[in-house]
């Protein structure tokens, strides 16, 4: 009765990390509980039906779950909660999706009333075909994803035993010359491959691309990689050529500018979701080859239409990669049901402790609005308020002070509003990358930054994702997309790549005090605070005084 775990009535589990059994306990509860928060002392896991079903899918049974809770719990676990867990897990597997030799894809049950219940649902009716026998009903193969999604919502998740197609084989090997997959990356690849499909969650800078490459080397088949934008597509291509046996010619880019289809094709979400005359003209990409593996980069940004396409791809292996499975639209469960359950997850701090990502010092600098700005802010229209406070004059002074302080280091200044960025660029004498900057120009500036030819780069949100800036050690965020938590995580990720000289990374967020900027900042920081990245809060005056 002195375990590290406390089971709460709302089905959260509190794990005391300093406890001697904490690591054992973490290993045992990880299969069925989602790590929700990981601050310094007590980590919070949540037990959800989805998590329990994923655990069932991975071969854990209710008894193991209950044993784990009872064994490590500090206080007696409420009986009702244990019963609830057992009942929830028992719901999984009553329905199975299998391949029938004569009827193709079928939904069958071991518990007839359950089948009757789900068949009564209006949302299931259009997805199923003829009733083959009292316990079996045919399912249109194209609705495999759809029906899984709906059944999950109905609370009767189907066990998908229909298997995967191997796809067109294509030799891919990792070229591990002078480097090797890190242990956690290997573990992630292994977990994914063992589970069939699913999502791998790793912090920014922890090498998600390599997990993708590792998985491709496992699959040894043609691969479709979906990424957020062209820059990111180029990055993937570069990395794959460097890390695997693939050559430039084997990798195609399918974007707004180029439409190449090769054994390994990298496509952007944007081109896929382009709609002309009510249809998606680029959908054929999915059918253009017999893909054996589909990789979704930054799965938390997956646009809604891609969900729909993905539903049709249930027979192919799917790998989702992300740093934060936090979607501002709350569609995490769609990710789980269509791409697959979370197969690997590592707390940021743990990977930092292993030295794979740089330790970061996060500081929130609070600036005061000037009196005239306060008046303008008070009278501004609601939709204009954020802009007013986010672009306050004082922020410029503070940013300049920070840049001065870290002179000589690679510094990124990130913001939302172009006017503000242009002004900052002017004052800091630094180039600005924004939406209208051409790709060629962007890559040129990135290269210059990488080479250390320029120290300070001002970027808008176009640079949010997948650009690799190895030597950035300081990031200054002057404004953001309202309260987006994953944006904050991505931006912090920009400075977390391990530094050659073991430098500490610095992340500054400049926030206007007593305005909605501060509220948004609190919301944005919550994810990182819960990942153990505690922000220090400073007053601008303090910073400016130190600097003077």
């Amino acid at each position: 009765m002195n375990g590290p775990l406390i089971v709460q009535s709302d089905k959260t589990l509190l794990l005391e990390v300093d406890h001697e059994q904490a690591d054992d306990c973490r290993r045992v509860i990880a299969p069925f509980a989602e790590l929700e928060r990981a601050p310094e002392h007590i980590h919070t896991y949540r037990v959800t039906p989805l998590g329990l079903w994923n655990a069932r899918a991975a071969g854990h049974d209710a008894e193991q779950v209950v044993d784990a809770l009872v064994q490590y719990s500090r206080y007696p676990v409420p009986h009702a909660l244990l019963v609830d867990i057992a009942e929830t897990m028992d719901r999984y597997g009553r329905l199975t999706l299998t391949k029938h030799p004569a009827h193709g894809l079928v939904l069958s049950t071991t518990d007839r009333p359950v089948l009757e219940e789900v068949l009564k649902s209006k949302r299931i009716t259009p997805l199923v075909g003829a009733r083959i026998d009292p316990d079996t009903v045919a399912v249109h193969p194209s609705e495999r994803g759809q029906i899984k999604q709906v059944l999950l919502k109905l609370g009767w998740p189907a066990e998908d035993l229909a298997g995967y197609v191997d796809g067109e084989a294509h030799p891919i090997e990792l070229a591990e010359d002078g480097w090797a997959l890190r242990p956690y990356q290997k573990q992630a690849v292994e977990n994914f491959w063992h589970g069939g499909s699913g999502v791998v969650v790793l912090p920014c800078g922890a090498g998600k691309t390599l997990v993708g490459a590792g998985s491709m080397a496992q699959a040894k088949s043609t691969t479709l990689i979906l990424v957020t934008n062209t820059v990111s597509a180029r990055q993937w291509k570069h990395e794959l050529v460097k890390r695997t046996s693939l050559t430039e010619d084997e990798i195609g880019e399918y974007s707004g500018t180029r439409k190449e289809i090769r054994p390994v094709t990298i496509a952007t979400y944007q081109v896929l979701t382009t709609k002309r005359k009510g249809v998606y003209p680029h959908l054929e990409l999915f059918d253009s080859r017999d893909w054996g593996l589909i990789v979704y980069d930054e799965v938390h940004l997956l646009p809604a239409p891609v969900f729909k396409f993905t539903a049709d791809l249930q027979a192919r292996r799917r790998l989702g990669l992300t740093a934060t499975l936090v979607r501002e639209d709350g569609r995490e469960s769609d990710v789980f049901s269509l791409i697959g359950p979370k197969r690997f997850d590592a707390p940021w701090k743990e990977i930092e402790a292993q030295g794979y990502i740089a330790p970061a010092d996060c500081v929130e600098v609070r600036v005061n609005l000037t009196d005239s700005e306060r008046l303008a802010y008070a009278t501004a229209e609601t939709e204009e308020k954020y802009r007013f406070c986010a672009t306050t004059e004082t922020k410029r002074k503070v940013t300049e002070a920070i840049v001065r302080r870290f002179a000589g280091q690679q510094i990124l200044v990130i913001g939302q509003y172009i006017d503000q960025l242009d002004e900052l660029g002017e004052h800091l004498n630094a180039p600005v990358i924004k939406g209208e900057t051409s790709n060629a120009q962007r890559e040129k500036l990135f290269d210059a930054f990488r080479e250390g030819e320029i120290n300070v780069l001002v970027v808008s949100k176009v640079a949010n994702f997948s650009i690799d800036l190895p030597e950035a050690t300081v990031a200054v965020q002057v404004s953001g997309t309202f309260g987006s938590r994953q944006e904050e995580a991505q931006r912090l990720g920009r400075v977390l790549r391990p530094k050659a000289d073991g430098h500490q990374a610095h992340f500054y967020s400049v926030v206007a005090r007593d305005t909605i900027d501060q509220d948004f900042a609190a919301h944005r920081q919550r994810f990182l605070a819960e990942q153990g990245y505690a922000y220090r809060i400073m007053d601008a005056d303090e910073l400016l005084a130190e600097d003077a």
């Binding site: 009765m1 002392h41 007590i42 719990s73 007696p76 505690a534």
Partner: protein, 884 residues
């Protein structure tokens, strides 16, 4: 019960009672306490009362299933019946050993309860019980048996009877009575009957097969099919009404091999452990839940601290308030109702009795809070165990279709404490850590107290069944049980166990393993003890028949199953509290503060700490630990409560095991910086003046003290006095102030006329009623005349009776006895009767039924059947024969 010792067999229940010793009479009165309220004057009166319908019904309803089955079998047997005849009916021709073994106990129970009297050669069921249990077409018996041949042929023509007798292969007789006798003896003779049925067509046997276990009635067409004709011709089916036939009792019994019941249930179904947990786990789980129970009650009353919900006009809590409470406690509504009712029953909350009535915590709650946790729990548990209030009913509707609300009226169920105690006792009978399935507990309770009448669907629970289910779930909520098994402290609640505790447990364990065999062998097994009869030694032990019984019944004084007396319960609760105390988690004095602005209390907190933290932060998650989140709002709340920022820093530093995270410290300072920056107050008038020297002068003037002026700014004074008073005051001081409108304009003072809000003129109040008009007068006169006629007319028929003289007067016992005698004899009586208005009259009645304090009788005076309350009958007298 020592009737057999006396030479002469008793001729009536009264005589049988007279022959019983004191202990056996005490047993009767203990199990049927309604017989001594009020105390009867003699044994005749006791016997009369024991024979009343209400009392017999009550006694039958408290029989266990096998005793009831035995009584039902007696009701279809001859009157009197021999023990062997009864044994045949209950155990069948095959003489099932377990049934035969259990029968002496059942007969003893019925004897003890004065439902059966007479020796084993002449067992008699009390007449009322026989009437209640014997099958009639309106009330089919659970046995599914029909009427006897004699009853079924009573209206049949002698010719038809002779035909039947002849077809059945019997010699014809001279009269119907002997014909029926010979038919009956054929039907009851197994061998001859078998021979008769051997010749039956197969489809006729099918018909019999369908009717044999009841209901025994069937429909026939006017022209029956040959398979029915064959049966009708031999009297194997007898017509009862046009188109209806019945299977006579004797035939059915033959087909059933003598059994009155398809499935006699001689032994109680065992309550078996569906799961077994280690006792430590059970105790720990229960203790955890007990802790939650305390926390929940506290949280509930804290939630209602600043004005609880309103009391509905009809009493109770509105559905909306219950919902809100459920959300606040994060439980379902029925569970919320349980906590609310529990706190109410424990006296921790009540209505405040104000004009605007609300629920609030009582002073007893504050005392309760001061007590150690285990004692607090003991109060709740004891309250729950003994309360008649039944939270499970909340949300349902009563007989008048009114919604039953929590804390409202109509929630008391007198059976609740007994059922709760019984269920826990059954749990206590299992080995430690054994959790039974709810179904086995319910099955056992249904056996112990079956419902009379037609069988119900098994899933439909009666009140006792529902009470039992609620008991199981409530016991879990309260931490009396853990994981469905009774905890050690729950066991202690039931009072001290017999000294040989280990023996009981061991015995109970074997009981669970082999239920059927262990009932007679393990009478001390708590799980199998029978609540209905106690302290009786089976009188059959002296009988030759029972000598073969291997296990005579033993008295079991140590296993009184009934709820404890208040003092015993207090002792038991204290014992339970002592057992629970070490299991409850120790309150902590520290929390863990984290940089994501949360604080985690890894266990229950000491009260002052919990109170302060509850103000300073919002509770995010509850359970074994508590997670608090600090927000600007929560910090502001703490500042509003009079804390200062430095207070809060000191508080957190003192109670945190880890350094206070910088963001939290910053948050507190940041909120404190702005706290109180704006000030709000109430003022009803102000003085403003651009010249602050003038305002200084006013403030300095002693005469202004009464105006209670306060300087808000150099040029503004405020006051609580109203503007008119302020103007007056300043004018009196010699200034010339001008009144200002809300917009700041100077008001022109002019004498204004004061007006009330719109009012209606008073209605005139005349001295007497208004003068009647002609229509009304005519109607009134007509009514008076009609009434007059009515009051004079009925005198004639009653004059003869009134002439008889005074009202008869007898004692109430005598009245009752005479009435009951008259029911049996069918005689008419002369009674004195006082009606509801107090008018006395005399009536001649022929009583038909006496029950429940009423006599239903044919009233010769009124020439119709009427019902009179017995307490209004002044007395009775028998009539001379010539009076009717």
């Amino acid at each position: 019960m020592s009737d057999e010792k006396t030479a002469a067999a008793p001729r009536s229940l009264a005589e049988a009672l007279r022959a019983r010793d004191d202990a056996s009479l005490a047993a009767l009165l203990r199990s049927r306490p309604d017989l001594i309220t009020p105390v009867p004057s003699d044994l005749t009166q006791l016997a009369t009362r024991a024979g009343t319908r209400a009392s017999v019904v009550r006694a039958l309803e408290r029989l266990d299933r096998f005793a009831l089955q035995t009584a039902e079998a007696l009701a279809v047997a001859g009157d009197p019946a021999t023990y062997e005849e009864l044994l045949g009916l209950i155990a069948g021709d095959a003489q099932d050993p377990p049934v035969a073994a259990a029968l002496p106990r059942a007969v003893a129970t019925l004897r003890e309860q004065a439902l059966v009297w007479g020796g084993d050669d002449r067992l008699r069921l009390v007449r009322t019980a026989r009437e209640l249990l014997a099958p009639t077409p309106q009330h089919p018996s659970p046995t599914g048996l029909g009427p006897t041949v004699r009853e079924a042929t009573s209206g049949m023509s002698p010719g038809r009877i002779q035909e039947i007798v002849t077809t059945a292969g019997l010699p014809s007789t001279h009269d119907s009575v002997s014909a029926v006798d010979s038919l009956t003896s054929l039907f009851t003779d197994r061998r001859r009957m078998a021979a008769l049925l051997a010749g039956a067509p197969a489809d006729s046997l099918d018909v019999l097969g369908r009717l044999v276990w009841g209901p025994p009635y069937g429909q026939v067409t006017p022209d029956p099919a040959p398979r029915l004709r064959w049966l009708l011709d031999r009297g194997l089916l007898l017509p009862t009404a046009p188109g209806t036939v019945v299977l006579p009792r004797e035939v059915a019994l033959h087909l059933r091999e003598g059994r009155a019941h398809r499935a006699p249930e001689p032994v109680p179904p065992a309550v078996e452990a569906a799961a077994a947990h280690p006792p430590q786990v059970v105790d720990a789980t229960a203790a955890g839940q007990a802790h939650t129970a305390l926390a929940t009650v506290e949280e509930l009353l804290k939630d209602w601290d600043e004005g609880g919900p309103n009391v509905l006009r009809a009493g109770g809590l509105s559905v909306r308030d219950l919902k809100r409470t459920a959300v606040a406690l994060d439980v379902s509504e029925p569970v919320a109702a349980f906590w609310v009712e529990l706190a109410y029953a424990a006296g921790l909350l009540a209505s405040d009795g104000e004009a605007d009535e609300r629920y609030a915590a009582t002073p007893a709650y504050d005392e309760w809070l001061e007590r150690p946790p285990a004692e607090r729990w003991a109060l709740l548990a004891e309250t729950w165990l003994t309360a008649t209030r039944t939270p499970g009913l909340v949300g349902g509707r009563d007989a008048k279709d009114r919604a039953l609300s929590a804390l409202g009226p109509g929630l008391d169920r007198s059976a609740a404490p007994e059922v709760r105690h019984r269920v826990l006792t059954l749990l206590a009978g299992l080995p430690e850590g054994g959790a039974p399935s709810a179904e086995s507990v319910l099955a056992r309770l249904r056996w112990e107290r079956p419902l009379r009448g037609p069988e119900r669907a098994p899933d439909e629970d009666d009140l006792r069944g529902r009470l039992a289910r609620w008991t199981l779930s409530e016991a879990e909520l309260l931490g009396v049980t853990g994981r469905g098994a009774l905890s050690a402290h729950g066991r202690a609640l039931l009072g001290p166990r017999p000294p040989a505790k280990a023996g009981v447990k061991a015995r109970a364990r074997t009981t669970a393993a082999t239920p059927a065999a262990s009932v007679p062998t393990g009478p001390e097994g708590a799980g199998d003890k029978l609540p209905v009869h106690k302290l009786h030694r089976a009188p059959e032990t002296s009988r030759a028949g029972t000598e073969a019984q291997p296990q005579p019944q033993q008295p079991r004084p140590d296993l009184e199953p009934g709820p404890l007396s208040p003092s015993e319960q207090a002792v038991a609760s204290a014992a339970a509290a002592r057992l629970l105390a070490p299991l409850l988690p120790e309150p902590l004095d520290h929390v863990l503060l984290q940089a994501d602005l949360t604080a985690v209390a890894p266990g229950p907190l000491r009260r002052p700490l919990a109170d302060t933290l509850g103000v300073l932060a919002d509770v995010e998650s509850k359970g074994g630990a508590t997670v608090y989140r600090f927000t600007p709002g929560s910090v502001r709340r703490a500042l509003d409560a009079g804390r200062t920022a430095s207070d809060l820093h000191a508080f957190l530093a003192a109670h945190s095991r880890t350094p206070v995270p910088q963001p939290l410290a910053y948050l507190i300072d940041d909120v404190a910086r702005r706290h109180g920056h704006l000030r709000v107050g109430a003022a009803s008038a102000y003085v403003r003046c651009d010249d602050d020297a003038l305002l200084n002068e006013i403030l300095a003037d002693k005469r202004s003290a009464g105006l209670r002026l306060r300087r808000l700014a150099p040029t503004v004074l405020a006051t609580q006095a109203d503007p008119a008073t302020l103007l007056e005051g300043l004018r009196a001081m010699g200034y010339a102030p001008a009144a200002e409108s809300a917009e700041g304009d100077v008001l022109i003072a002019r004498a204004d006329s004061h007006r009330t809000p719109p009012r209606t003129a008073p209605e005139p109040v005349p001295d007497g009623p208004p003068a009647p008009d002609a229509t009304l007068l005519a109607a009134a006169i007509r009514a008076i005349r009609a009434g007059d006629l009515a009051s004079t007319a009925p005198r004639k028929p009653t004059t003869a009776q009134v002439a008889g003289g005074e009202l008869p007067r007898t004692s109430s016992a005598e009245t009752l006895a005479t009435m009951q005698a008259a029911v049996l004899t069918g005689e008419a009586l002369w009674i004195g009767y006082v009606n509801a208005e107090g008018a006395a009259s005399q009536r001649v009645i022929a009583p038909i039924r006496v029950e429940g304090g009423f006599v239903t009788a044919y009233d010769h005076t009124a020439d119709e059947v009427r019902t009179y309350p017995l307490h209004r009958v002044t007395g009775v007298a028998e009539l001379a024969d010539d009076q009717i």
